[in-house]
């Protein structure tokens, strides 16, 4: 085991390899508040990458309803059970990671889903937590009856558990962009990576006899384009780009701005210790206790900042840039009422108004004596 630095945990931790950070690290921001679980991302991914034989139940991208939706079944409940309670103190995680709590005979603490666990990607969909009765009215935030959608892909972790667990070194992390790949010529289908990945984002293909996973649409990333799940998102909830290493911040980089400057986007279950690189804007309406378990101690601050976005031109501007271009936005700038996105060379990719023109009608039409459903 080597000692590595995990900024999400606020401390060093044990990892089987002395793993230097890649030259660049691909990262995403997903805004859970805007996701409607239309699964367009899921289908875009599937149609692009996983419609071959043996991939019938393979969804590199999936959208599940929290708290009762899972793919595979119960993945995060089991993860929490395995890791056990772990508290945060002043931004430092005091519990154990999947590496630190690994059994003696393994590098990573994990569990192996059954085939059936992969067979119900829509389990728990739209299933709310909390009790409802006839006439229940949900009128306060956070809601006491609630659910939200969690879109998930491989986190292309800085310290991948899949890589740590592979006895053949068939999994590698690319130095040029941090994308984590299973070498399809080396993999011999031991499924150790499936067992180890805390997010259960490596899947076994029974026809190829190998494990497969999200490849971060690397042919697109290599051309400066965002991934299929991002560019197909009709809710425009996603960004794909690159995150600066810990201790460095590029305030003009959308990912850095959301994760490090405004800190509205948080890692998913950072307590795994893998330093996942998909960052989520937590839902504003779900119970904070649940959200802190899922996204760590930054939840309160993230939601407070996020809910004031209308008065924050840069934060608002980035929301408007989501889904505005297929290209990776390396830099952005707000000029008056317009936000602009730039490519790596500083060339303008797109410009979008901060606010769309809108007219708000009265909710009651006095002339026709009728309430109106849609008042925008």
């Amino acid at each position: 085991m080597a000692e590595v630095s995990n900024w999400q945990l606020g401390r060093d931790m044990q990892y089987p390899y002395d793993a230097p950070r890649p030259n660049k690290q691909v990262a995403w921001v997903f805004d859970t508040n805007k996701c409607i679980a239309c699964q367009t991302c899921t289908i875009a991914c599937k149609q692009t990458w996983t419609w071959g034989r043996g991939q019938e139940y393979m969804l590199w991208n999936n959208v599940e309803t929290k708290p009762y939706g899972f793919f595979p079944t119960g993945w995060d409940v089991k993860l929490m059970e395995m890791l056990g309670p772990g508290s945060w103190k002043d931004g430092v995680y005091e519990g154990q990671t999947v590496f630190e709590k690994a059994p003696e005979d393994l590098h990573v603490l994990g569990w192996q889903p059954e085939t059936e666990d992969w067979s119900h990607p829509n389990v728990g969909e739209d299933e709310p937590a909390g009790e409802t009765d006839r006439g229940t009215y949900v009128g306060s935030i956070p809601h006491d009856v609630w659910f939200y959608y969690l879109a998930r892909i491989c986190n292309h972790c800085t310290y991948p558990a899949c890589l740590a667990a592979c006895p053949r070194n068939a999994i590698y992390k690319r130095p040029e962009d941090g994308i984590v790949l299973v070498d399809q010529s080396r993999c011999r289908g031991y499924q150790e990576c499936v067992t180890a990945c805390p997010y259960k984002k490596v899947m076994f293909n029974p026809v190829s006899g190998t494990s497969e996973k999200c490849i971060a649409c690397f042919p697109k990333i290599e051309q400066g384009l965002q991934t299929q799940c991002v560019t197909s998102c009709i809710g425009r909830i996603r960004f794909a780009g690159f995150i600066s290493p810990p201790g460095e911040v590029d305030e003009k980089n959308p990912i850095d701005f959301l994760v490090k400057v405004r800190k509205v986007a948080l890692p998913l279950y950072p307590q795994t210790g893998t330093e996942p690189n998909v960052y989520y804007v937590p839902p504003i309406h779900a119970p904070r206790q649940f959200l802190k378990q899922m996204f760590g101690p930054g939840v309160d601050e993230a939601i407070e900042t996020y809910t004031k976005a209308k008065d924050d031109p840069e934060l608002l501007g980035l929301q408007m840039l989501m889904g505005a271009t297929e290209h990776i936005i390396h830099g952005f700038e707000v000029e008056g009422e317009v936000v602009k996105g730039f490519d790596a060379a500083g060339k303008e990719l797109v410009s979008v108004p901060l606010r769309e023109p809108s007219f708000i009608r009265k909710y009651f039409d006095e002339v026709r004596d009728v309430y109106l459903h849609n008042i925008t």
Binding site: Y17, E56, G209
Partner: protein
């Protein structure tokens, strides 16, 4: 732990001979570096290590490969096999390197027979297993057995997967490959007979284009072959994590499961090229066995194995 060359060579990250294990040893890509060395830091079974570093001069057991006039029968039930004495081989759980076998051993013995006809050498292995496990799907693993021969009989290689510079030649029979030989469709329906699936690439595009959706197959990964001609794969290894499919596949065999017992025959030509054992009538070498109980989750390093036994090929 005594001073031996095995961990030193592995930990130094020096590439083994030719390209075998090169990536595993040197971590040519990304941070998948020095995995072998890292694994050895938690090396715990010192007695196993000592055993390997100083192999006994006399093998505790020698298997005689009887010379036959006829072809080596592939059928494990063939009378020619049954006429040979079954040599008991003791098995141990693999607990030297992660992932270690984390369960109690289910087997203490397998039985080995061997014969040759001057051109081919055959091995007949039987062991008890209450369940036939021949599917490889999520969370399910297959029964299998491997025969290991040193590429060079002088100074036996490390008994588990060899070591850099001292490769071992492996014959690996898998129950899932046997199943594929006997009429599996290579689709999801093998695991789930009533499964319904949508159109797949080969249904709507020419074979060349459709191939692009099967990267493991395109990459030449033996695991991903659609049509199997043998249930036995020939491999070479130069240490943990370096197992590599042989370029030319010549091995043959057959496994039969009856009444809680596997009987498997593995046959390979005696003449060998680079990275293959080269055997001749009257020669002596060594042989080792490993058995996987798929129903208990065995795969890869999670296995039960035997140390070297002597192998004598009748003149």
């Amino acid at each position: 732990m005594s001073e031996g060359y095995i961990p030193g060579e592995l930990a130094s990250g020096e590439p083994g001979r030719s390209t075998i294990g090169r990536r595993a040893a040197t971590g040519a890509i990304g941070i998948a570096a020095v995995g072998i060395a890292a694994g050895l830091t938690s090396w715990s079974a010192s007695r196993h290590y000592d055993h390997a570093a100083e192999p006994p001069q006399e093998f505790t057991r020698t298997v005689l490969a009887k010379r036959m006039a006829d072809a080596v029968p592939r059928d494990p039930a063939d009378a020619a096999w049954k006429a040979l004495p079954a040599i008991p081989i003791s098995l141990e759980p693999q607990r030297m390197i992660e992932p270690r076998l984390d369960r109690a051993p289910v087997l203490t013995l397998c039985e080995l027979r061997a014969m040759h006809n001057g051109k081919e050498v055959g091995f007949h292995v039987t062991w008890e297993d209450p369940n036939r496990s021949d599917l490889e799907v999520n969370g399910q693993f297959r029964d299998s057995v491997a025969i290991q021969l040193p590429v060079s009989p002088e100074g036996p290689a490390f008994a588990v997967m060899g070591q850099p510079g001292r490769p071992v030649h492996l014959l690996h029979w898998r129950a899932s490959w046997q199943r594929a030989m006997e009429g599996a469709t290579g689709t999801i329906r093998d695991a789930f007979p009533n499964a319904v699936s949508d159109v797949s690439p080969e249904d709507v595009m020419n074979a060349e284009l459709a191939q692009k959706y099967y990267p493991a197959q395109v990459a030449g990964n033996a695991m991903a072959l659609r049509e199997r001609t043998s249930p036995v794969e020939e491999l070479v290894a130069e240490g943990f994590g370096t197992i590599t499919s042989q370029g030319e596949q010549r091995a043959d065999g057959k496994g039969v499961f009856t009444n809680g017992r596997w009987e498997v025959v593995l046959v390979v030509p005696m003449a060998g090229k680079e990275n293959q054992a080269s055997l001749s009538p009257g020669s002596h070498t060594s042989v080792a066995v490993a058995v996987w109980n798929g129903g208990k989750g065995d795969r890869g390093a999670r296995k039960q194995f035997a140390y070297w036994s002597g192998l004598e090929l009748e003149a």
